[in-house]
């Protein structure tokens, strides 16, 4: 609050006004004081003049009276002299002297001699004559009294009462009250004049001061105001403004300095603008470059805030998830993780631990598909090192994964094929090596048996050896079949016919074992044609039917053998599928991989060679097909044979 009243905070005009007033006020107060003292003096003088007048008349009366006491005639004469003197008294313009006795009768008066004026009242209604006569009677000889009263003299043209000053003295010997009075205004006439002159001088001076204050103020303040306005405009950013003050005083210098400064500011600003423009351009270039980099990346790039809400996603990410950027932004990243928030938490935990990680495999889930992803991620930090979010790069490895799986399958298949082929070669060698001694043995046994008495024990023993040899022979025969490498004579075969041929031989066996046969063979247009060896294919079907039959041997539930054939078209190729299912004991998971290997059997010793399925497998493979098995233990087994089909229209005639 105090600050508001500090002199330097005042406006320049106020200061000027204050300065002028500081000079004017003592001057004017001195002038007024002088006038006041002067008027007082004048008044005192006038009063004393009046008093002197009445005293003089009093003394005159005294001196006249002294020598002539008791002589009435002389006294009257003397009184006449005094009366005349009184009549000649004039004070100021309209002032005069008069005499009345204590009863109010005017003894001497310029206009009203003889009248009794004891009851006269002034303009306020005060009977001042009576008061005066009472006072006069009480006064000592030569003592002068004074009375002031407002009086309106119509004869003199007064329209309102004026103060009148009256001095009086009482001359007891004659009972005379001598009075002299005048209007105060007339006494002060000169004083008033002086006062008027002083006032007028004051008014003129004051007016001059006001004008000066205004003019000087304007001269000083206007350029400052203009400077201020321009400064404010410049501050607001309008640099085209300039100060239009050209003078030679300090303000002119200030304006010049200001112009120089404004010019500098303009130059600096232009430099700054150029620099900013240049930097902005470079920044924009750099931004464009990185945006192009990010946008042309084939990998999805995503940033999230600390909480995991997506703050940026590039085009590749849009394509990956099949969603527009507007949809992605603001969504939580966990929304797209197949494992949801758990995945997001694990990733965040890992990031907090080491700041980044590489090549983590995760699964994303879009509206339409699951996407296998290899992701690398890192924390995003600001200049202060505070974590502001995460950055993730997502590589779609769905196709790679699919190919990997396919490759694995192909590899497994290749391994299986190679294994079978190696086994085939081995078996062929074994078969060949066994056949010679087997033949020699059989031949010798034959010779011996012919020489032996059929009733002798040796004949029986020879028969047992022969049986043994027959079994060996059978095994070797199977081995040879399995290892048969040559394709033989392939022709176009209708699998349905092959199935019917195989069933012709086996149907009776199935009936004997209470096995219901269900046939689902393709008909009409979809003739299941393959290129192959009909007898070999029949062998395969027979083997599978025999296996199915044996699998259902001890089955408790309904025994059903289903044979189906169908043609599947795809990729411009036809595929023939042959399926044989049973409701038997099934194949346990542990051994399902081994069933196509030679010598693998679950049948009791002597009942099977363990070669049937491996031979069937070999045959199917030679036909360019594959054999698959699907089984549930205790419920069913299904063998599927998939062979390349032949289009009936392309068969060579």
């Amino acid at each position: 609050m105090i600050k508001m009243f500090r002199f330097k905070d005042w406006k320049i005009r106020t200061k000027l006004a204050f300065a002028f007033l500081c000079v004017l006020l003592p001057l004017s107060s001195t002038a007024f004081l002088s006038v006041h003292l002067f008027s007082k003096k004048v008044k005192e003088e006038a009063a004393s003049q009046l008093a002197n007048t009445v005293l003089m008349i009093y003394k005159l009366c005294q001196s006249q009276d002294q020598g002539y006491q008791g002589d009435q005639q002389k006294i009257a004469l003397l009184q006449g002299v005094v009366k005349q003197a009184v009549r000649n008294v004039r004070a100021e313009k309209t002032g005069y002297a008069y005499v009345m006795d204590s009863k109010g009768v005017l003894i001497v008066h310029p206009a009203r001699e003889g009248e009794n004026i004891i009851g006269e009242t002034d303009s306020n209604g005060v009977a001042f004559m009576r008061e005066m006569s009472v006072k006069a009677m009480e006064m000592g000889p030569g003592e002068v009294g004074e009375v002031r009263y407002p009086w309106m003299n119509v004869e003199l043209g007064d329209t309102k009462p004026r103060m009148k000053l009256l001095k009086y003295v009482y001359f007891r010997p004659w009972d005379w009250i001598v009075c002299a009075g005048t209007y105060e205004s007339e006494i002060f006439q000169g004083v008033d004049e002086t006062q008027r002159i002083v006032l007028e001088a004051f008014a003129v001076t004051f007016t001059l001061i006001l004008i000066l204050t205004f003019v000087i103020g304007s001269v000083l303040v206007r350029p400052l105001t203009e400077l201020n306005a321009v400064t404010q405009q410049i501050a607001a950013g309008d640099l085209s403004q300039n100060v239009n003050i050209h003078r030679k005083d300090e303000i002119g210098t200030l304006a010049e300095s200001f112009r120089t400064m404004a010019g500098q500011v303009r130059r600096y600003t232009q430099d700054l603008e150029r620099t900013v423009e240049e930097r902005s351009r470079r920044l924009a270039d750099s931004e464009r470059k990185y945006r192009t980099l990010v946008e042309s990346s084939v990998d999805g790039i995503v940033t999230t805030d600390q909480k995991g809400y997506i703050t940026f996603a590039n085009t590749a990410m849009e394509d990956l998830l099949g969603e527009q950027r507007e949809v992605l932004l603001g969504k939580h990243i966990a929304y797209y993780y197949k494992r949801g928030i758990d995945e997001a938490r694990e990733i965040m935990r890992e990031l907090r631990k080491q700041g980044h990680f590489r090549n983590r495999e995760i699964t994303l889930e879009s509206k339409t598909r699951e996407i296998q992803i290899m992701t690398s991620s890192s924390l995003l930090q600001n200049e202060k090192g505070e974590i502001i979010g995460t950055l993730g790069v997502f590589t779609d490895i769905t196709e790679i994964k699919r190919l990997e799986a396919e490759l694995q399958k192909t590899q497994a298949h290749l391994v299986q094929t190679m294994k079978m082929r190696a086994l085939g070669d081995l078996v062929a060698g074994v078969a060949h090596s066994v056949n010679n001694p087997l033949m020699a043995s059989n031949t010798i046994l034959h010779v011996i048996s012919e020489d032996t008495d059929p009733d002798s024990p040796n004949y029986q023993r020879i028969k047992i050896i022969k049986e043994c040899n027959r079994r060996i022979e059978k095994i070797v025969q199977h081995l040879k079949d399995f290892s048969r490498q040559s394709e033989g004579k392939f022709s176009v075969v209708d699998i349905n016919n092959t199935i019917e041929d195989a069933l012709l031989i086996t149907v009776q066996q199935l009936q004997n074992r209470n096995i219901r046969l269900v046939k689902g063979l393709t008909t009409g247009m979809h003739q299941p044609l393959v290129r192959g060896d009909a007898s070999q294919l029949e062998e395969v079907i027979m083997e599978l039917i025999a296996n199915a039959r044996d699998a259902m041997e001890e089955s408790d539930h309904e025994k059903v053998l289903t044979i189906e054939s169908k043609v599947v078209a795809g990729n411009g190729k036809k595929t023939v599928i042959l399926r044989i299912s049973d409701t038997g004991k099934g194949i346990s998971k542990e051994i399902v991989d081994k069933i196509f290997e030679p010598f693998f059997t679950t049948k009791e010793q002597g009942k099977g060679t363990g070669l049937g399925l491996s031979i069937a497998y070999g045959i199917v493979e030679q036909h360019g097909g594959r054999m698959e098995v699907e089984s549930k233990e205790g419920e069913y087994t299904t063998f599927s044979i998939v062979l390349p089909g032949v289009d009936p229209n392309t068969i060579e005639m």
Binding site: A431, H432, S433, N435, N436, P437, L438, M439, A440, S441, N442, T443, I444, H446, V447, E450, D451, N469, E473, K480, R484, Q485, S486, G488, K489
Partner: protein, 121 residues
């Protein structure tokens, strides 16, 4: 006059067995353990029937059969080819070389005897 048969096989056991079998049926048997020995024998002797093994060290059954067939004396002589191989391709090659019958090993003695009998009749 017993019929004369030459058996060629690198397996001595087979030779012994066939000699026993065919000998017991009254055939006159000569044996050779390889192509070279066989050709030496047929230079001086004539045979009514030849039994050749296919897979032998040195000269194999096809080669031997071809050579024998080049000899005018053996142009019409029945040749049985015994083999542990049984592919169609082998059979074709055997026939090309001039074999009359292509039989798999092991063959049952009864069948072999009946085939020989019918070949010689």
């Amino acid at each position: 006059m017993p019929r004369k048969i030459l058996v060629v096989d690198d397996d001595e056991m087979v030779l012994i067995a066939l000699e026993e079998l065919l000998g017991s049926k009254g055939y006159d048997i000569r044996t050779a353990s390889g192509g070279t020995q066989a050709r030496k024998i047929i230079e001086t002797e004539l045979f009514d029937l030849l039994i050749l093994d296919l897979v032998m060290p040195g000269m194999d059954g096809y080669e031997l059969c071809r050579r024998i067939r080049q000899d005018a004396r053996f142009k019409e002589t029945p040749v049985l080819m015994l083999t542990a191989l049984s592919g169609e391709e082998d059979k074709r090659k055997g026939e090309e070389a001039g074999a009359n019958l292509f039989l798999p090993k092991p063959i049952s003695p009864q069948r072999l005897l009946s085939l020989i009998e019918s070949a010689l009749s």
